[in-house]
């Protein structure tokens, strides 16, 4: 490594013998901030806005007819690093595939967003919901009926 790439940070360190002056200097900084508007907010009364890309609870999207877009291809389940998704497929009379069972275990999920990126039908997406509570762990295994309406429960 070249000499010019290095800075010696402890060159001018010395035992600075004064207690009072540096403390006053520190207090000056504190007082300078004392009268500023606080940067903190009063959660949960106030909340910050989540970004467009926020990865929160899952949602299954529906098409214009109100049918699930999902074709139960299983790609989201295959790509999931924490094996949080379980899918069972069913074929209707026309030969179109639908999910018979679609479960997402939100406690296993690490919210990496891989399922949403992988889905070829844009059928699964992550919402902006980040605060969720339940009385039982089992209630965090979301089935189709919950996934279709994610958000209604916690956004009220």
């Amino acid at each position: 490594m070249e000499k010019s790439d290095i800075i010696n940070v402890s060159k001018n360190r010395g035992e600075k013998g004064n207690y009072v002056k540096p403390i006053l200097k520190g207090l000056q900084f504190t007082m300078g901030n004392f009268f500023k508007k606080p940067v903190t907010i009063q959660y949960p009364d106030q909340k910050t806005v989540r970004s467009q890309r926020w990865r929160g609870l899952h949602k299954l999207n529906v098409d214009e007819k109100g049918e699930l877009k999902c074709v139960a291809c299983g790609l989201c389940a295959a790509v999931c690093p924490s094996q949080a998704i379980t899918i069972l497929a069913r074929e209707d009379e026309g030969g179109t595939r639908h999910p018979e069972k679609f479960e997402v275990n939100e406690l296993r999920c690490i919210f990496c967003g891989f399922c949403q990126d992988a889905c070829p039908k844009s059928a699964i997406s992550l919402t902006k919901i980040y605060e969720y509570v339940n009385y039982n762990r089992e209630d965090f295994v979301f089935d189709i009926s919950i996934l279709k309406t994610t958000g209604e429960k916690w956004n009220s």
Binding site: D5, K16, K21, K25, R53, L75, A78, G113
Partner: protein
Amino acid sequence: MSESKTVTLNMGPHHPATHGVLRVVLELDGETIVNATPVIGYLHRGIEKICESRTYQQILPLTDRLDYSAASANNLGYCVAVEKLLGIEVPKRAQYLRVIMAEFARIMGHHLWLGTHALDIGAMTVIFYAFRDREMIMAMNEEIAGYRLTPSFIRIGGVAYEATDDFIAKVRKFVAWFPKALEGYHQLLTDNKIWTTRTMNIGKISAEEAINHGLTGPSLRGSGVAYDVRKAFPYSSYGDFDFKIPIGENGDVYDRYLVRMEEFKQSIAIIAQAIENLPSGPVMTDNPLVASPSQPEVQTDISALIRRFMVNAKGTPVPSGELYSAVEGAKGELGFYLVGDGSEQPYRLKIRSSCFYLASALPRLLVGHMVADAIAIIGSLDVVLGEIDR
């Protein structure tokens, strides 16, 4: 019956100043430490073993959870290793975005260190300001990646998404503002007599001993050894940027503090250069083995659809071979030793955790000091147990 003069004190694993779940068994003679034994493993999740049954893409979110205070730097280290084994080139724009994310991760890690280190020693004010600024970086992570602490933004072959205008504006704002905040940290601590008394000449380690203990990162540089992976073996376009490596002289807690404080400044300088010279172009390689085709392509082109299934469900086959590749994480040299066997899953992934070496130097550093100094020394090494235990 012999009479024992020493007292054994158990510090941790749930001691607030051990920064996670580090346990140190201290043997004391009065208040002087005569022996110290670090005990680790309380946060063991078996990440290295899990990696053997995951595809290369699926491992990525696990690397976030090594040194969780600087997650993007781990992502970068892992991706660089896999890309080297695959032999693929990452687009320039992605490399610059990676540098921005990794430097932000370093600043975030140092914020956590600064706040808690000062808090441990008794200076409570600093953590509020450090976390105020850390929050701004978290907001930027959220803007670009969608997650705050574990963004998983850097992916094999590039980065996950294009940077938004909002993100670039936020970065510019932060770069312009941060030097003033740094000035504030200095004002609170650097010349403060109480701070210097607690930190100067405490936990001294010479350059030679530091090397022998395998220390890297700021803890090594505090002893006066100018070794930084970013300069020594540049990766991800670090050669394009103009920055300096801060070193200390005395190898004590105070010098390690000064080194990290200067690293804040250098990191922000790198980010400023990267954001101003951000090249245009794609953010993901076009290598069909790695890149997942875009949504419009998948809708119209059957081969793209098949390719998406192959990349996501089956994974990317990585040629057999082994390599060691290291990056400069927030705590030191973070290395990935990767053995590929031609399949989509690594045969073995060994993580060289810098914090492990830092923790193993603890007995050497603690002996001879007072109990109260143990806190200062552990804090100055800045160990993160997620990385030690893995």
